[in-house]
């Protein structure tokens, strides 16, 4: 018995380059494309993979903080700019911090399930290099509880939130082990990014990644328990894909073999005004993963590919535990032993993840879905992993705030 009342497909995924430090073409003082560029580039990248774009019924745009990073609101207004046939079609912008992209996916699917539309284009976007990181940290802190947490918070608010989680894990599971797991997460992220031409770390030539990953933190200038390499990047980028019903796929001229099925998802919201119950766990992510598995009627071991929200290496480590592929407290060793590598037990963040590909915040959830889609279709180029017929599933889990807003989504190769 399937979870949805009708079949939902995903197709035509596209990611732009994640632009920011690390990319050769990035120069902080030179003019760069604006947010409308990424919306259009991502949208067109998706449209170019279908035959009849005029039959797209609606748009959803996921974005976190364009109002501050780009002084831009009313993002739905950029949807008709993507393609002339989009004029006067509905478009809605959704926001859930770094899970804005995840919420865009859920919103698109709900629209189709409600029989309001057969085909919905989902675009995630963020442009963050418009300000220096120290001011970007202010904007991103909006993912936390401003009036309750910000004043006492750190200059780098979110890095510090996850630094505290790292500290709690060091204490509970042993610093050496956890630190090594985080560094190995970094190594895997960069190695995967080197195979992904769109990744921000694609040009990384560092010959000793592990040593870099192990760089001691500098609490005077940054955080107590994590270094800058433990962080995802400050990125500009956009991603897009199309959700369609069976009927919708036909309307846009996409054969089923070029689409994958969305089997189930779970969207979970935690209270922004309460602190995390346990710093050594991503409790909300765990609830979302469990519900998604239950609704899809699968187990973690049925996955051939996983994409988690590694805004920080420690988040990646805790996310594989929350996704149930590693046991509680075992994430670090699981990663250090190579189980999340492309040839490991569960290839995770195969295109670089947020640490390697980049983290254009509002785009990340969509980007994750695009990459799982491409993996299941066997179209991930040098990053392609083996999708075995007995494990035709892939899952993405996207998180907003400090484990507050989560969407976990399970896909199946047809």
């Amino acid at each position: 018995m399937s979870y949805f009342r009708k079949k939902i497909y995903a197709t035509a995924g596209f990611n732009t380059v994640s632009l920011g430090t690390g990319r050769k073409e990035f120069h902080p003082k030179k003019p760069r494309p604006g947010i409308e560029h990424y919306i259009k580039e991502a949208g067109l990248g998706s449209i170019n993979q279908i035959r009849n774009p005029e039959n797209i019924d609606e748009g959803v745009i996921g974005n976190f903080m364009a109002a501050r990073f780009c002084n831009q609101g009313n993002l739905g207004g950029f949807f008709p700019m993507v393609h002339p046939t989009f004029q006067y079609k509905p478009c809605i912008r959704v926001e859930g911090a770094c899970d804005s992209g995840g919420l865009a996916l859920a919103t698109a699917i709900k629209t189709i399930l409600a029989d309001i539309a057969d085909v919905v284009m989902c675009i995630g976007v963020e442009v963050q290099n418009s300000v220096k990181a120290i001011y970007g940290a202010d904007y991103l802190a909006g993912a936390g509880w401003f009036s309750g947490e910000r004043k006492d918070g750190h200059a780098y608010f979110f890095p510090d939130q996850f630094s505290q989680r790292a500290g709690a894990c060091y204490e509970k599971f042993g610093k050496e082990k956890v630190r090594a797991g985080m560094a190995h997460w970094y190594v895997n992220a960069i190695e995967n990014a080197r195979k992904n031409p769109d990744a921000q770390e694609n040009h990384n030539k560092n010959s000793d990644l592990l040593a870099t990953g192990m760089t001691p933190p500098n609490p005077k200038a940054f955080c107590e328990h994590i270094n800058v390499f433990d962080c995802s990047k400050v990125s500009d980028g956009g991603s897009a894909l199309i959700f369609a019903s069976e009927e919708g796929l036909k309307k846009i001229g996409v054969e089923q073999k070029n689409a994958i099925e969305v089997v189930a998802y779970a969207q979970v919201q935690d209270n922004l005004t309460t602190p995390p119950p346990d710093l050594t766990k991503l409790s909300t992510c765990a609830v979302a993963a469990k519900r998604a598995y239950d609704r899809a009627d699968i187990k973690p071991s049925d996955l051939s590919v996983l994409d988690v929200h590694d805004c920080f290496t420690i988040a990646g480590l805790l996310a594989v535990e929350a996704a149930g592929v590693a046991g509680y407290g075992e994430g670090a060793d699981f990663i250090t032993d190579g189980n999340t590598k492309s040839d490991g037990i569960i290839p995770t963040n195969t295109t670089g993840g947020l640490v390697g590909y980049g983290h254009p915040t509002g785009a990340s959830g969509v980007r994750q879905a695009v990459d799982v889609l491409k993996q299941l279709l066997g179209k991930t180029g040098d990053c392609q992993v083996k999708i075995s017929p007995d494990k035709p599933f892939g899952m993405m889990s996207s998180m907003g705030g400090n484990d507050k807003t989560v969407v976990a989504m399970v896909f199946r190769k047809e």
Partner: protein, 445 residues
């Protein structure tokens, strides 16, 4: 009077200049750190920034704002703690602005030297001209408190001479920052014969607070940094005179600049560096050293000819590089001057390819300075590089090895002549003040 007390009222003379403005930023930060301590709440702090024109002060105002913002952006983690009880300041941006405003409020901008009358510390950073420096120091002696201490940023004039001429009775120390002072880690500290113990201590402690690398140099004109740079530059200029018959002035300048940058793996070629410093500054440096050391050979006809033509390098007010030995396009070398022809010969003309081929016939690619800068194995790689040069036996490698040898001898002579105590100090100055990857006294040659 301890350093904390002295830092309540400070004056920088020549504050709008390249060096003075950087020193002003560093002093302002130290003063604001003190001001923010709860026990200093009711104290008044003042930093007087003096220069000769209002226009220069306008430029300084903007520079101070920009630099204070940069400093605040780098130390926001700590600033959030300092401003923790200001409930109205929540975001980083608000805290950064508050810090900049609060620190800016300590500053007096003026053309009137009399403002220094209440200062306990005075930094002198005017143009490197000894008559003017002495005149200003004499004037300040009359204006300032009788116990005021003077830190002079001279890069070449003996401190004892300044002390004696201005009658400061040992209340002066050489405090030679490198350009730009906000970034460069090096400060050469030079004691006059009579520099007081109190001032020696103040100089050392202030350097420590600024987290600068303080290297002591003897009170001998040019000290370590310019003692080396002047002779290194002169060697290259003399070599140009030697090579000009075969390659023309432009070709010879090009060769020595390229050899020093590419073959010796320096951040910039020797003539680009002299352009950066300013031909006028370099000429004045030679003049001061020539006079005090009584060494007539510290002079260059070539340099004098450029100065006669009013080609003096240095920077435009917007920071861009002015033409000197080299012509610049968007701050990048684009041509070299031929003094006989009275014009720049551009790199895109065909003369260059021939010289490049002669210098390096196998067209070997050397790792550039920038690539090795952060490389943990840079010393091994440099050793391999210089060993390769020894084996190449080409025109370029021969010139490079001669230059390397001369550079080493200049360093060794600084020790022999008592300017530096040891190899370590010579190497530290060149590596920290000139961003060399290796010291001039090395085992590569």
């Amino acid at each position: 009077m301890n350093l904390d007390e002295r830092l309540q009222n400070v004056t920088v003379i020549g504050a709008a200049g390249k060096m003075g403005s950087g020193i002003a930023v560093l002093v302002a930060q130290e003063m604001s750190k003190l001001k923010f301590k709860p026990e200093n709440n009711d104290k008044i702090y003042r930093l007087n920034l003096v220069d000769i024109t209002e226009k220069a002060l306008d430029g300084l105002r903007s520079y101070m704002k920009v630099q204070l913002i940069k400093a605040a952006e780098k130390s926001t983690v700590i600033l959030r703690q300092i401003y923790s009880d200001r409930k109205d300041l929540i975001e980083n941006g608000e805290i950064i602005n508050a810090f900049v405003d609060d620190t800016y409020a300590l500053l007096n901008f003026t053309t009137d030297y009399n403002i220094a009358k209440d200062s306990h510390l005075v930094f002198e950073a005017i143009f490197e001209n000894e008559e003017i420096k002495i005149k200003v120091l004499k004037q300040l002696k009359e204006i300032c408190l009788p116990d005021a201490l003077f830190l002079t940023n001279t890069s070449s004039i003996p401190i004892s001479y300044l002390d004696e001429q201005a009658g400061l009775g040992g209340r002066i120390v050489g405090y030679h920052f490198y350009n730009p002072p906000v970034i460069q880690k090096l400060v050469e500290i030079i004691y006059a014969d009579n520099t007081t113990d109190e001032l020696k201590e103040i100089g050392l402690e202030f350097g420590k607070r600024l987290r600068k690398k303080l290297v002591p140099a003897a009170d001998i004109s040019g000290f370590i940094g310019n003692g080396h740079f002047s002779r290194d530059g002169l060697y290259a200029m003399n070599k140009v005179e030697e090579l000009k018959d075969e390659y023309g002035y432009h070709g010879a300048l090009y060769i020595m600049n390229k050899v020093s940058q590419d073959f010796l793996v320096r951040p910039m070629g020797i003539f680009q560096l002299i352009d950066y410093v300013g031909l006028d500054v370099f000429q004045s440096l030679l003049r001061v050293m020539r006079t005090h050391l009584k060494l007539e050979h510290l002079n260059s006809d070539l340099l004098n000819k450029f100065m006669d033509k009013k080609i003096s390098g240095g920077q435009n007010p917007n920071g861009s590089q002015k033409n000197g030995f080299i012509k610049y396009d968007k701050n990048r070398p684009a041509g070299v001057y031929n003094i006989e022809e009275g014009k720049y010969r551009m790199f895109d003309e065909d003369w260059r390819a021939e010289i490049d081929k002669k210098l390096n016939p196998t067209n070997e690619k050397f790792a550039p300075w920038r690539a090795l800068l952060m490389d943990a194995k840079k010393m091994e790689k440099l050793e391999t590089h210089f060993n390769n040069l020894k084996g190449m036996n080409t025109y370029g490698s021969t010139l490079a090895l001669d230059f390397l040898k001369t550079t080493k001898e200049i360093g060794e002579n600084l020790i022999k002549n008592g300017v530096a105590n040891s190899e370590k100090e010579v190497n530290e100055v060149l590596m920290n003040g000139f961003f060399w990857l290796y010291g001039p006294i090395n085992n590569f040659i």
